[in-house]
Amino acid sequence: MLENILIFWFKFKMNPFSILGLIIVCVVVLITIFVPFITPFPEHAGKVVDFSNMNQPPNNINYFGTDTLGRDVFSRTMFAYRTSFFLSLVVLLIAVPVGIFFGLLGGYFTGLFENILMRIVDVFLSLPALVLAMVIIGLTEHSMTYIMAAISLLWWPWYSRLVYSITKSIKNEDYIAAAKICGASNFHILFFEILPNCLPSILTKITTDLAFVIMIIAALGFVGLGVQPPIPDLGRMTADGMDLVFDSYWLSLFPGLAILFLVVGFNLLGDGLREAFDLDLR
């Protein structure tokens, strides 16, 4: 087992960009865990105002400057990482199992069931996620719960389609036939023979999806449909700073760069994982 992990690592580190992605993601994860300890003004993520200090450019005390309410932008940006990360994790925690479940069933059992299931998936796939999320949230509440629910609802079909195509392609393989001949139940075949073969693709997709969901949440925040203040949100912060971008550039720049940093990191990591899984070292 250890040998396999070491071989995977060898393949992974062949691409320096993958290492870069891994480092970035590790940095982000560490930030989200240790954020109260590494930020100078953790309380600024909450209901705090300090008008005496408002609109300061980046300096030695406030690395990213302060915003219109005098709050430290650096601390808020770091806390905003936490918000985004938490939201996207929950979304995936719901969407992934649901998606896998329907993908496995649809790919394995042919006929009417497969058709109905996959057409439902098609419907969801054809809807633009961002627009629909905006509609749902606009009609309901701006709370974290509704945002996560809306995005999960739109996200699970992507995993269904992924698992569906892998299931369809391997269900006629010899080892699946061998399992049937042994007398294995459909349940066993689906979850213990087919699913393990879907995991590399699923893991890779989760990595890149984390970034994607965070971008969607940021976009929602940007148009004002994200989490409500004072909870810091990268998209919201970027949007709020847009009006003052020529005078107080730091208000939009740093949250925007933070999004970029995170998204690039996850994408590089996801690409690296995919390459390492695909690579056959002979």
Partner: protein, 297 residues
Amino acid sequence: MNSLLSIESLELSFELYKRNLKVLNEINLKLFKGEKIAVVGESGSGKSVMLRIILGILHDKNALIRGKVFFDSIDLRIQKESYMKNHIRGREISMIFQDPMASLNPVFTIRDQITNVIKLKNKNLKKNEIEDIAFEQLKKVSISDIGRVLDSYPFQLSGGMAQRILIIMALMNNPKIVLADEPSTALDVTLQKQALNLMNELTNEIQSAVLLVTHNLGVVREFAERVYVIYRGTIVEEGLIDDIFNNPQHPYTIALLEAVPRLTGNGLPKFDPNPPDYEKIKKFSHPSLSKYYEKYS
């Protein structure tokens, strides 16, 4: 000796996880004009990859190659890619691959693919001239409805038909050497016989030399004049057909022959449960070879 192809001290190794994998160990091989030789070995012996090195189509970043490959006194190993592409591949030296379905491009018709090969030799032929050449060539394989076959896509043809077309395509431009990598392994035994007969006929016609790589000793015996036996990247025995099959000397060759199940029904094929280290046993070259080589001096 004026050999058409001369491989000298060819070595190949790959840089892998934690180790350096040596695939070819100082290979020395000669091929003369019009000769049919076979390189026989099991999988992993390096025989297929050797063919790819000859044509310069081994694209692996981790590959380390040393040695020389002389074709008509030109070392192919140091030639530019453009030379290989424009003069050698498909023209002076062509190759027949193992799986006919994987060797033909699935999205082009047979006509398109044969046209490409015809144009390699002469770019300026007109459409009807090309069609005539294609017809003439396909007639050699006694295909009844040539027009239909030319219009077809590879998936519409049977494996046997596809392999015969590949053989034609490889020989169309009168190459001096044909490299064949397990050309009949993917075929049924009756089709295999047809394909090999066809190769024999056509190469005799144009006096082309053949280097056949295979693991099937029966095919070697029916097709080749001279044999190299290869084990894990090392040539362990070289000789003429009669010598190899009637008087094998190297323990590995003997083991290979004993392991072939016989039609005479001698029982389960024999094998040595504790074989010696075949690589460490010295290579055996049959003495009758020196007289044979005199023909080509």
